[in-house]
């Protein structure tokens, strides 16, 4: 008993700092060990998980941005005849692509008009549900007017593209954008299967316009056929993509 008291009395201090230092050391060791064991074995999953995170907050709104401001640029008077070295040459105005507001996905950036078919509706960049609920949309794997490459436009046959049932060769399609107005002329109309890969060629090096919608028109339900309307570029400012 005497020894016990003597032993204890030799440690009279409470050693309060141990109650801070030791838990911190323990914590560092535990988290260090846990990291050393867990991280190498779960790196694959951590890398996979990182794909699901982004720095920007996700936008779930159903609203779209309208960047379309009507312009007179590209109307018939802008296509001028110029004479150079005694040769007659038709020139079209060019617009540097850096000068235009390039649309983001889902932006309304123009207006789509086929007067002969009674079609006049907003034109969107993108052909998802939202865009096709409010107008017609350019497939983002194709190009915007003036780019000099194929343009693929989709619309619902029951709504904005219902008028395509009146489409005929030679009719004019007008696309109005903030950077210019474009004219195309219908060259062909065809009905094909939805998965017919020969229906259009997005790799072509010339500006063509292809419209498509479900077929037949005025039918309840979904169909496996599509009506394709093909048109050639007539006029409108070219986009200068070199600048």
């Amino acid at each position: 008993m005497h020894n016990k008291h003597h032993h204890h009395s030799s440690h009279r201090s409470l050693n309060g700092k141990n109650f801070i230092i030791l838990p911190i050391v323990f914590c560092v060791l535990i988290l260090g060990i846990a990291s050393a064991i867990i991280i190498p074995n779960t790196m694959r999953f951590i890398n996979m998980a990182s794909m699901f995170f982004s720095d920007n907050p996700h936008d779930f709104s159903d609203e779209f941005k309208n960047i379309y401001v009507p312009t007179s640029e590209g109307l018939e008077e802008d296509v001028k005849e110029e004479t150079s070295n005694a040769q007659s040459k038709k020139t079209t105005k060019t617009v540097p692509i850096t000068d235009i507001e390039y649309p983001d996905y889902s932006d309304q950036f123009g207006e789509f008009i086929i007067e002969d078919c009674n079609i006049k509706c907003p034109l969107f960049y993108g052909d998802g549900d939202l865009q096709l609920n409010y107008g017609v949309g350019i497939y983002t794997g194709s190009f915007i007017p003036g780019y000099g490459r194929p343009i693929l436009v989709a619309g619902h046959n029951a709504t904005y593209f219902n008028g395509l049932k009146y489409a005929q060769k030679g009719q004019t399609i007008l696309i109005r954008t903030s950077y210019g107005n474009y004219k195309y002329e219908i060259t062909d109309i065809a009905v094909k299967k939805y998965n017919d890969k020969s229906a259009y060629d997005l790799g072509a090096r010339e500006e063509t316009l292809t419209l498509y919608t479900c077929y037949p028109f005025d039918q309840f339900g979904l169909t496996s056929q599509r009506c394709f309307v093909y048109a050639k570029y007539v006029s409108g400012p070219k986009l200068d993509i070199s600048r």
């Binding site: 032993h7 204890h8 109650f19 838990p23 323990f26 995170f53 996700h58 479900c214 339900g221």
Partner: protein
Amino acid sequence: MSEKRKKKSSSKLRTFVYVVMSFFLALILFLLSVCVSLRVTVFSPDYMLQAMSNREYYTQVTEEMRGQLESLAHASGLSSEFANDFTAGYDMREDIVSYVDSFYSGKSTLINTTNFKQKFRASLDAYIEENKKEGTEVKESSLEYLVNEAADIYTNSIEIPFFSVLANYIGKLSMPLNITIIALVLIGGIITAILFLTNEFRHRGYRYLSYAFIAAFLCDAVIAGTVTISGIFGKINLATRSLYNLFVEYFNGIFVYFWIFAAAFIVFGLVFFFTFAGKHRKLVNSH
């Protein structure tokens, strides 16, 4: 070596052993907090259903499905009202609950669309009957195509991404997790008993318990604090608002349990500290 020096050396070794045991107790407490947090969250179907209720998941999913069915209606010659009326009369809650239950019970997580298809087809037929105009074609294959597309929308609305993958792990890990929790409690109890029973001065056991509980508090607080401050789960990228809200609630909820454990650990840590300090002072004063 004198008797005094031998005793001092042996005392230091004993203290070191107790500190090491205290470290292992801290590790066990931390692991226990992680395992129990997972047990009552990720491994519990009630937790998922609670997260769904908290974030009005059912209402949001129904609204999202309505939007998609409306787009489908536009593509199919139907009006927006058709989608609105149909969705208003269809309760998805039961199907979502049975999907979550089947997921946790290890059954097939395939969603049965029979009921949905039957009701959708009945609504479609009634709509066509009411709204069929002259010249409008009704083709059975087109209607079937539409019903199948609507059923796909319905399935996609109910399905929770990666749950089928996770279900496999949860099914396999559920029992080992329970055993681990029991084992950790037992080992923790044994270490605590050793700390008290083998110590020459019983009250010193409180000191080592205090070290362990404060360390476990720090571990939980560091992890939960890092997650809370970084707001990492708010940056998750998911396709729909309903899933986003559900996942944020779900993951943040797991770390709420970390905070609860951290709070419990620090309370116990302080109680043990003051108990030790009181007993220590009493003993010193008595001599």
